[in-house]
Symmetry: C3
Subunit: 264 residues, 3 copies
Amino acid sequence: MSNLLSELRERRPLVHCMTNIVVANFQANGLLALGASPVMADAREEVEEMAAAASCTVLNIGTLHRESLEAMEMAGKAANGAGNPVVLDPVGAGATRFRRDAVSRLLGSVNITLIRGNTGELAALAGVDWKASGVDAGDGEMDVETVAAQVARNYDCLVAVTGATDVLTDGKRTMRISGGHPVMSRITGSGCLLSAVCGAFLAAGKGDPFHSVAAALAFYKAAGKRAAEVSSLPGSFLPAFMDQLALIGDRDFTVPESAKEVRA
Amino acid sequence: MSNLLSELRERRPLVHCMTNIVVANFQANGLLALGASPVMADAREEVEEMAAAASCTVLNIGTLHRESLEAMEMAGKAANGAGNPVVLDPVGAGATRFRRDAVSRLLGSVNITLIRGNTGELAALAGVDWKASGVDAGDGEMDVETVAAQVARNYDCLVAVTGATDVLTDGKRTMRISGGHPVMSRITGSGCLLSAVCGAFLAAGKGDPFHSVAAALAFYKAAGKRAAEVSSLPGSFLPAFMDQLALIGDRDFTVPESAKEVRA
Amino acid sequence: MSNLLSELRERRPLVHCMTNIVVANFQANGLLALGASPVMADAREEVEEMAAAASCTVLNIGTLHRESLEAMEMAGKAANGAGNPVVLDPVGAGATRFRRDAVSRLLGSVNITLIRGNTGELAALAGVDWKASGVDAGDGEMDVETVAAQVARNYDCLVAVTGATDVLTDGKRTMRISGGHPVMSRITGSGCLLSAVCGAFLAAGKGDPFHSVAAALAFYKAAGKRAAEVSSLPGSFLPAFMDQLALIGDRDFTVPESAKEVRA
């Protein structure tokens, strides 16, 4: 058993989210429930200062504008300068050229610690042919583990592809994390909040980023599963899920111990 | 009994919302609960591509800016070009000159399929004297059916004026849909979400727009009524309403069969 | 017993919020539950008209941009011109230079009726050394009553410093209001919504601003306490809190009668 969650709650890391108008409230409430401290800021005038003062910065392109993209680049570099982890959530990366270009730009100018997305977003990053639909995962054929590992090696970062089963990789090894409940995909921002939760865990467990993200994924799936026992309808699932983010302790979830090596 | 709702859930239409910061989360969660796929995007750099890829575009001026108005015009034209329905929600149209002008501009440059608003917004569109208050319906004297039909003929579109009783018209015939519960007006964005729900139904039932919107209105009132049986207090009504958006099936609501002809 | 809450619900004041993307939905729902009418608008093209038409304007710098700061200044002046109360919520004032400068600019150009913030934000306004963390209250040593009274005299306004115990002052007298529940700090925007609730009470009770804010603070603490009896977990507390904002009447909370004089 890891003590990472208890340590997170004791340290209460400040998670700087540059996020979209759809999930800002949900993300802030989820981070508070977990025991982290959220701050949302995306004005160019302050993002560098905020990113440097925070423990982690999360870049989410869900409702991106030209101005916020520029601010994300500034914040990401400032977080890099401060030695803070940076999480990139490439929401709907395959949906438009603007989003694809934004992701390229951020990956080219900022050292990203973790990319967290769904299979459709992974396909967009890897240039794999895919039938995406807006910000949904979409459909297509792809060996997720192999492609994720390639992307991880390309950008020298962790990649978490989340869905019914999550895949986590650093390009050399991969891990699968299962659990959760299908209703998690019926509430908006469940992926966006997970990116921020990964950020909080990364801030709390800087020594071992792979393990920290694995713990975040396992924690989140456990919270979803328990909340779905209260209700599997989206409306009443949501407050139950928030409750579980606050309730669950280190003993209530298991981080897989062994990762699989990636064949070259 | 219509199968429109089942068909909607099977097709899972992508509903492109250009919306306000107050209701973005509620609208996305409501569309997900219903079984549609929401995507929010309002950057000029991507709205044309998003609108063309979506099944429907919903324009909501709730927290409008000059830039987003321009983007709405671009998106509306792109949706028109792709043959997709466009819903206009003229939030608080009577509240400021900026909003009145924005609505005029959008109605002048985009072929709108449906205008969905409250009585105060209808009055603003029709130039009827009205005591509006912010984004509320407000007070005044007006024959809603007659004025709505005039607006529908003026812009060659459907008009839905929603409230305690909804009025739907295409300028030639009108239909009234009752049901629901007063608590629906105690949660923010119930009208905004309804506009998006109409968009999803329009996307699913392109062959008969009048019937599709009538079904959307009847579905929504049924969901509100059932949720209010769980709680008629605004806080606990909200998750119950989301649950009902997911639970209700084609059998659980009735679309009025006959519309009344408008006298010339 | 005061009738202020009943009067508020009868008058249904229009509260113009210029607010952040995190709490916009929560603030609107909270004002609706209370019985006020929220309107969110922050485009330069319309804020003066909206502020003049509203009963109160609330300026919240939670996710401030250069453009919205300019619009807040315009709106604040228009509200002043119309004789309407203006509430300033200096969210995270100590977190960045941009926020400190924004607060100075607003306090320098707009007659503020009430500043509502946490201890960290008060420290930033007063130039007291403080260990702030993002938008949290943070830690430090300060005689809150004395510093708040100084700030109130400096800007000739009311100051409410809220937390486990609230302090309200006009610079000459101070009042403490206790109650509530710790879970209130586990949901995002509980302070932001309180600022808007104070605005609604100020609009309803213009004759005695000090008493009106005291009533707002006592009302809010009572709602929090009652909701926490339903659940003290953040997810299920939230809808219960909204319910209480709608349920509580004038008889259900007590406004402290006597204020303490501030020693010169």
